[in-house]
């Protein structure tokens, strides 16, 4: 009876216990469909829970709006928390014109207001009134998607919890029968996922949103707590709310499955290439350059970037310390002309203050920039400054995800790292283990009044490399490493 495909699905480990693959509805929200492996379960109800300001309503509304705009699936919003006007204003700030969608019959919004003070309860009742309103709205736009935001306000508005619970159970059954894909938002509870235990009724797909503020920097995270009958990403994924709405960054530790390239690319410093088995770095590897202040880390990074541009590769330069014009001026003084690469569109400098946004937001921005620009080389200068945007564990986790992502895309990345003591072993984030090549730059006193810069290739995986400590000099001709034959 079963076709070969169903058998295949049955035994495929990723599809869980269900014999038939669950049909999914793409949310259209950037990144969320990747995390949920395709979207929300079709014809069922997904629960989105989180604290106040976590972005629940926005996620729900984007699900409706993107459904109406991208997938020809009109939507109904039953709003118990915010009035239609408030919702319209909030979405307008993200560039969505809700009134136009309402006029075009792609969206219906019904604001349900329950004023407990006005209401006396006596005897039996049910919530058929709400059902009727929902049904009318669905029929009005022929809706395929429904948002109930925040349905648990019924518990605050009505005294008889028993009736509300029984009616909610009926509501979720009814939604299933109606064949609409629904999103229900709920406030997070102390001991359970939601304050009123809505997860009891909606058990198919549960998404949790989290908004933390650590040292005045906020990070938002999304997690798929449960997805019955479907595989899904289980990590906490950072997400952003920007002027284009919500976007989830589906970067996770991808594991060590990326293929390693044996292609070599120049470091941009011929003398350094000689030290690296005479051929330079591996393509797709990650390079760390550590050093105390003023040892020339950025110059190595710029030389590497410039060489990549000269090969015709695109380079994305994340600057967390200096402005683009400052970088250009400084690099000119050592004979590295980055301006021409910018003019040719090969180099893009993305300069931000690390403390401007949270670590996850940085990661999300980097991820999107990399997706858009498709560089062959990425420079992060310095990665140290990101530490001010998060704690050490978080920084390491973020870097792991970033490096995995870069490796998967065969992007060669150079990270510079400022160290404060000469004891290079305690590399601030403990990130050296993530790196394939580690360049250690030092600034040593030489005699009474001189200082001399030294370079040491501490490690470089997969190649014979020079282990000696070399001195080097900076001039308007660039970097000159001494002692090469």
């Amino acid at each position: 009876m079963a076709s070969p495909t169903t058998i295949k699905k049955k035994i495929a480990p990723s599809s869980g216990t269900s014999a038939l693959a669950l049909e999914k509805v793409p949310t259209g929200i950037r990144g969320l469909d990747q995390v949920t492996h395709g979207g929300f379960p079709r014809g069922r109800t997904a629960l989105v829970c989180g604290g106040p300001g976590a972005g629940k309503t926005l996620l729900g509304l984007e699900f409706l709006v993107r459904g109406a705009l991208l997938y020809n699936e009109p939507g109904v919003c039953i709003a118990l928390e915010e009035t239609s006007e408030e919702l319209i204003t909030n979405m307008a700030s993200l560039g969505y014109d809700l009134p136009a969608l309402v006029r075009a019959k792609r969206l219906a919004i019904d604001y349900v207001h329950i004023e407990r003070k006005q209401i006396e309860e006596t005897g039996e009742y049910d919530l058929e009134g709400l059902f009727i309103r929902l049904r009318a709205a669905i029929e009005q736009v022929k809706a395929k998607r429904v948002l109930l935001d925040t349905i648990e306000l019924l518990f605050l508005g009505l005294k008889d919890e028993g009736i509300v619970r029984a009616e909610l159970r009926r509501l979720f059954h009814w939604l299933k029968d109606a064949g609409v894909t629904a999103v229900v938002t709920a406030e997070i509870g102390d001991r359970s996922l939601t304050r009123y235990g809505l997860e009891e009724y909606v058990a198919d797909c549960v998404i949790m949103l989290d908004h933390r503020v650590n040292e005045q920097i906020s990070t938002r995270r999304l997690r798929v707590v449960k997805y019955r009958g479907s595989s899904h990403g289980t990590n906490e994924y950072p997400f952003l709310i920007d002027d284009q709405g919500l976007s989830v960054v589906p970067i996770t530790s991808l594991g060590l499955t990326h293929s390693a390239s044996s292609e070599r690319i120049s470091s941009g410093v011929p003398d350094l290439d000689l030290m690296l088995g005479q051929q330079g770095f591996f393509r797709g590897s990650s390079i760390l350059a550590t050093g105390t202040a003023g040892t020339g880390k950025s110059i190595f990074a710029a030389a590497f970037a410039s060489a990549a541009c000269a090969r015709g590769e695109r380079v994305l330069y994340f600057a967390y310390e200096e402005s683009p014009s400052q970088i250009l001026r400084n690099m000119r003084s050592v004979g590295i002309n980055l301006e021409k690469w910018i003019k040719r569109g090969l180099l893009k400098i993305h300069a931000t203050r690390p403390t401007a946004v949270g670590l996850e937001a940085h990661l999300a921005t980097m991820y999107q920039d990399i997706q858009d620009f498709e560089p062959g080389v990425v420079v992060v200068d310095p990665v140290t400054n990101l530490i001010t945007a998060g704690d050490l564990v978080a920084v390491k986790a973020m870097l792991t995800r970033l490096i995995d992502f870069l490796k998967m895309k065969h992007i060669t990345a150079m990270f510079t790292n400022l160290v404060f003591s000469l004891d290079i072993q305690e590399t601030v984030v403990g990130i050296s283990s993530l790196m394939d090549t580690w360049l250690v730059l030092r600034d040593n006193p030489h005699g009474e009044s001189e200082r001399v810069r030294t370079l040491n290739v501490l490690k470089s995986r997969g190649m014979p490399h020079d282990t000696r400590t070399r001195t080097f000099a900076l001039s308007d001709k660039g970097i000159k490493i001494h002692g090469n034959q």
């Binding site: 349900v112 006396e120 006596t122 039996e124 009742y125 919530l127 058929e128 009134g129």
Partner: protein
């Protein structure tokens, strides 16, 4: 439908223009109570609510009232105007402020309190 037909009182000449299909509203002597009962079909609960309401009005409002019954199955769009989610819901539209009483109105005391026909405190 059947509920609507059962409303026969009070009688008067004029008629409010915006109320059309469910019930004729005829003002009586002032002050007139304007009550609206929202139901969803002829369920035992809605019939009970209507009977309880009628009895209560007879006893306490002495004919100075109008009851309009709205069956949301017939006019679903009317639910939005009075923000109805539960049925039966009794809405006191006049005198203001608007009051709502949810349920089959089986507890007369509670209904009277809800309609401001009984003081809520126990100062009596």
């Amino acid at each position: 439908m059947a509920i609507s037909k059962r409303i026969t009182e009070p009688k008067s000449a004029s008629r409010r223009p915006e109320q059309n299909k469910t019930q004729r509203i005829r003002p009586f002597k002032a002050p007139v109570w304007e009550l609206r009962l929202y139901v969803a079909g002829m369920t035992p609960t809605s019939i009970r609510a209507f009977e309880n309401l009628k009895k209560l009005c007879e006893e306490h409002l002495h004919g100075a009232y109008r009851i309009q019954v709205v069956d949301l199955l017939e006019s679903p769009t009317l639910a939005r105007g009075d923000q109805i989610i539960a049925v039966p819901t009794l809405v006191r539209r006049l005198p203001t402020p608007v009051k709502k009483i949810i349920g089959d109105l089986s507890n007369t005391e509670r209904v009277l309190v809800g309609l401001d026909l009984r003081p809520t405190g126990d100062w009596r």
